[in-house]
């Protein structure tokens, strides 16, 4: 188990990077706590696998350092770092049995046979592989094979961290859910540092204590699922987390409010104070569909809108409204009535966010 630190870490696949776009991973300094479950979330090509491979030691970063418990491991191999990693597609040793597959990482490290046997059986039990231990790994289904890959990661009790690179891609949805619960349980039981790469927000949010959202090579926010939802620090986080994502409208700044097409929308004090000058940069106003309120016009602070559509999602309703040229989504409870003619929306000040050049101002 180890605390993982990134010190000015950056990576470019170009030999002489000049522009920020040349970087697959942009400058990053951070500390990840020991024994926590982290998720790296982002669309494909955002640099999450690059960061993962740097952590595991399969890739040497072009800039900066990686430290495990304060020790510089930037140039160490995965073996020297004592890392376990599970890959996207199951990697199994075809000619071995399930038992031999699970024992392989331990036997390579010359662990005494009795300990090997105990650990293998423990892990097999945890992953429901006990019945298959004597079978040849090659003959199993893809999910069972992926369980073996995970098992090989979990079997070493002394690892610094276990890394998962989109491990549930090949697994069917139901088994996916079970395996994620399993991993979660194993994490709670052994308090291993786990790092989980995924492009699926549900997977990230249900698995991790903290989620790092990555976008175009930059880590735009690291926070608990709740923080990501309630206080997205970057418009991308707002858009990527939640379904649908945050509502965004370009705006300008007034004295204590934002102006969207000349309509004043009140902003929280912190946004106003930290915005500083009113010029420079592109301002955007953001609010999650869950926090927008649909009322009737005439109520205090209500801005008249036109309801253009309602989707019934079974457990909630999703209304699409037009505010001048902007389309906004509003999430409503099943019971709530939708005013046909005099609909209006209200922006609760607490949840109204101001972004400058995609970054949260307040």
């Amino acid at each position: 188990m180890a605390t993982i630190q990134f010190d000015n870490l950056g990576h470019s696949y170009h030999p002489h990077p000049s522009k920020p776009e040349d970087y697959a991973l942009r400058r990053l300094s951070q500390e990840w706590e020991d024994g926590k479950a982290y998720a790296l979330l982002g669309p494909s090509g955002c640099g999450k696998s690059t960061l993962l491979n740097i952590i595991s030691g399969l890739l040497v970063p072009s800039e900066g350092r990686v430290l495990f418990d304060g020790l510089d491991v930037t140039r160490c191999t995965p073996e020297e770092r004592n890392i376990a990693q599970v890959f996207q597609f199951p990697v199994i040793y075809d000619t071995m049995t399930v038992y031999e597959n699970l024992a392989f990482p331990l036997r390579n490290r010359k662990v005494p046979a009795a300990d090997v046997d105990r650990r293998v059986r423990q892990v097999a039990e945890a992953l429901d592989l006990t019945a298959d231990l004597k079978k040849r790994a090659q003959r199993l289904t893809p999910d069972a094979k992926q369980k073996i890959s995970m098992g090989r990661g979990l079997v070493r009790s002394d690892v610094a961290a276990i890394l998962f690179d989109e491990p549930l891609t090949v697994i069917d949805p139901h088994t996916k859910w079970i395996l994620r619960r399993k991993l979660r349980q194993i994490h709670e039981e052994y308090r291993l540092t786990m790092i989980y790469v995924t492009h699926d927000q549900v997977e990230a949010l249900t698995f991790a204590d903290k989620v790092a959202v990555m976008y175009e090579g930059a880590m735009v926010q690291l926070g608990t699922p709740q923080e990501l939802f309630e206080n997205p620090e970057h418009t991308f986080v707002g858009y990527f987390i939640g379904s649908p994502g945050i509502n965004l409208m370009p705006c300008t700044l007034g004295n204590d409010h934002a102006l969207v097409d000349g309509i004043a929308i009140p902003l929280p004090d912190r946004a106003m104070s930290s915005a500083g000058g009113r010029v420079g940069g592109k301002f955007e106003l953001g609010i999650r569909p869950e926090f927008l309120e649909l009322t009737r016009s005439g109520n205090a602070g209500a801005i008249p809108v036109q309801v253009t559509g309602v989707d019934d999602l079974g457990t909630s309703k999703l209304a699409t409204v037009r505010l001048n040229s902007h389309t906004l989504k509003v999430r409503l409870s099943e019971e709530q009535e939708i005013p046909a003619l005099d609909a209006a929306i209200r922006f609760p000040t607490r949840w109204t966010k101001l972004y400058r050049d995609s970054h949260l101002v307040g």
Partner: protein, 291 residues
């Protein structure tokens, strides 16, 4: 077979059936026909039953050639397969100029006509003008493949290795290239040694191409004819006379058509039998428990 329409499918295989019949079945049956007759000339034939087969099975020279052939083929496999794997493991990967150059160099021996290969080695090995022969002579080894049977034998073997190891290497290379990088990364993380990576990842993943390599090299070397014919002509004595050459001597040299036909059939069955054995062994190993 209740429906008449079902039988129409048979018409579709007629073209293939005819081609196979004319290219394989008819010639083979002609040989079978010859093998049971004594032939003095056109129209002067009479039935002799299994006499030729008995003669072939008792033929001392044929036994010698067969033993020589088996040793030769096994030696070819024992050298070319491991060597080919080693070369494939050492080849550069990825799309670089180095890779292309290596592939071209390796493919070169495969592109040379068989009799040219024989000629190249015949000159290469000559003591007076050949690079190999002259070098041996210069360092004091009395190398002469024309009158020393051991030298002749080794030269034919080395020539085959030179000619065909590339094929094994290229096949293995293709097998190695198809292994996803995640396997190597996982092995690194599992702390596997280089040997373990070879034994548990590379070798199992190469099994398919190795089956093909072993079968091709076995069948080809078991039927080798042109290269030793050009290089040594089967000599000195009979030391490099392999089965096909003995067969040719019998059929074309002595015009012993009936005996040669019987020999051909036995020869064909031997190749078939060995190929079957190799195929079974290789496909079974690594499969482990059968369902």
């Amino acid at each position: 077979m209740d429906k008449v329409q079902d039988n129409r499918a048979w018409f579709l295989i007629i073209p293939v059936f005819l081609i196979v019949a004319f290219s394989a079945v008819v010639p083979l049956m002609t040989v079978v026909n010859y093998s049971v007759q004594e032939i003095f000339g056109p129209g002067q034939t009479f039935f002799v039953g299994t006499e030729w087969f008995e003669a072939v099975l008792k033929d001392e020279r044929l036994h010698d050639a067969l033993v020589r052939q088996i040793i030769y083929s096994l030696a070819v496999l024992a050298i070319e397969i491991p060597l080919g794997i080693l070369i494939a493991l050492g080849m550069p990967g990825g799309r670089s100029a180095k890779t292309s150059l290596t592939l071209v160099l390796l493919a070169l021996p495969l592109l040379i006509p068989f009799n040219v290969v024989g000629t190249i080695w015949q000159i290469f090995g000559r003591g007076d003008i050949g690079l190999l022969g002259a070098t041996f002579r210069a360092i004091g080894i009395d190398y002469n493949y024309t009158n020393n049977s051991a030298h002749a034998w080794v030269t034919v073997l080395v020539m085959d290795v030179w000619h065909w190891t590339s094929l094994v290497a290229l096949l293995c290379y293709a097998g190695l290239q198809s292994i996803p990088p995640a396997f190597y990364q996982a092995a690194k993380i599992d702390g596997a040694s280089k040997w373990a990576v070879f034994r548990y990842i590379q070798l199992p993943k190469m099994r398919g191409v190795l089956i093909i390599a072993v079968l091709l090299r076995f069948m080809d070397s078991f039927m080798i004819y042109t290269e030793p014919f050009v290089l040594t002509g089967g000599g000195p004595g009979n030391s490099t006379t392999f089965l096909s050459q003995y067969l040719t001597q019998m059929a074309v040299g002595q015009f012993d058509i009936g005996k040669a036909a019987a020999f051909s059939i036995v020869y064909f069955l031997i190749v078939l039998l060995f190929s079957f054995i190799f195929y079974t062994i290789i496909t079974r190993t690594g499969e482990g428990e059968k369902k």
